[in-house]
Amino acid sequence: MSPLQFIRQRPFALLGVVGLLWLLTPVALKRLARVSLFEFGAPADFAASYARDLQQYWSLRTRSTNELLQTARDLANLNASYETRIQENETLREEVRRLEEALHLPSNPEYRTEIARVVRRDFGTWSQRLVIRKGRNAGLPVGAPVIFSGGVVGRVAEVYAYTAAVDLVSSPTLRIAAVADGDSRPFSFEGGPNPPFTQARGSVEFVPLDVYASPEAPKRIVTAGLGGVFPAGIVIGYIQNLELDTGGLFKSGAVLLDPRLNELHEVAVLVPLNPEQQ
């Protein structure tokens, strides 16, 4: 059968028409369809997420009173230490503000923190994402940084009515300007590639030649604060090894991310208070 005869067959002609119609469909209509279909599926994920919360609640109800008392005592200790840190933080903030005024420096961007539960984790082969239980209802913008107690989680990629999708720091789709702890020269961090059955990874490139790291003495890297997305100083991970680039001007290497990244239940979204300042 010649190729011409082949494509003249009705099924393929129909497929071609469908493809052509889809290509000619206005972008606004496609966007509307995408949002509508996502929102159509969102309640199911929501229900599953609430069911997990309920399951956790009932499993906690089975704990003994002694265990709960012990936990309450631990929490009271933790709260006391946090109280002290908050006071220290306030003093430091005040000092930074005074120095900014004295030196006429532009002030750092400020954020409000929005805590959100994780609805779904998706650690796919080629991309890693989270869906969180807050969206436009909490005023989340696209591109907002997402963090947790271990450091960077990722960046808000899409915002819907009551949910938002977060591109994880381990995803190859995410790039961040980073610096080595105690250094000010920025380099590039990129998520992935992620091997199975072990913690998430990333890679760094354009690292200065005098930065050293090995599995025995890993180097901590933090956000550089460049690019206007992530504030400076948030932990990304630890460089495990560094090798010379092919050009010999910089180094590149692998980064081990926080192992808790795979099992997050709650994250904090940093919502810029003055988006235009960024």
Binding site: L15, W22, R34, A44, A48, D122, F123, P193, P195
Partner: protein
């Protein structure tokens, strides 16, 4: 309105939800399963061209809505695979569960390998070969296990709406 494509699209939406839940729990390891190939067999083996094309295109759009791929890319891919399957199905065995399982495995393999191109990621650069092999193997095992159940689910759901696909395919103009 034709209940066939509505039932198939809703069943595929359920499959997408279940796949999402499985991956949520597998994230601890971290590995993932890819089950999109399961969407195809019933449509490819039993549905007429127009109904099947609508069902596959809408299922693909539903899947695309929650993934970081160009919207409509999976829809077009599913529609293309369905059309190919529809064109050659008269030359393939269609009775029983085995064709469903084999068809789902082949479709899943093609769709899995197409993902990096849809995501705009290099096949090897953004995932290790170990991860690729483990994810693919896990996906194929889960697809093989779920295929008979998913076929039965769709057929029973269609029976509830008064559509007997097994009878329909033997009628003049049907798939068999």
């Amino acid at each position: 309105m034709d209940p066939r494509w509505i039932v198939i699209v809703l069943a595929n939406a359920l499959l997408a939800f279940l796949g999402g839940q499985i991956n949520h729990y597998l994230a601890h390891l971290p590995i993932s399963v890819f089950l999109l190939g399961l969407c195809l067999p019933v449509a490819g083996l039993r549905l007429r061209l127009r109904t099947g094309l609508i069902a596959m295109f809408l299922s693909g759009l539903f899947v695309d809505a929650a993934r970081p791929v160009p919207f409509g890319s999976t829809a077009l891919l599913l529609a293309a695979l369905f059309t190919c399957w529809h064109a050659v199905r008269s030359r393939l065995p269609r009775d029983g569960v085995a064709p469903v399982v084999v068809g789902a495995l082949v479709a899943n393999l093609i769709l899995f390998l197409a993902q990096p191109f849809l995501l705009g990621a290099p096949l090897a650069g953004s995932a290790t070969w170990g991860r690729l092999v483990v994810d693919l193997l896990c996906s194929q095992v889960v697809v093989a296990l779920l295929a008979p159940w998913f076929l039965a689910l769709q057929e029973q759901a269609l029976l509830l709406r008064g559509v007997n696909l097994a009878e329909e395919v033997r009628e003049p103009g049907g798939a068999l």
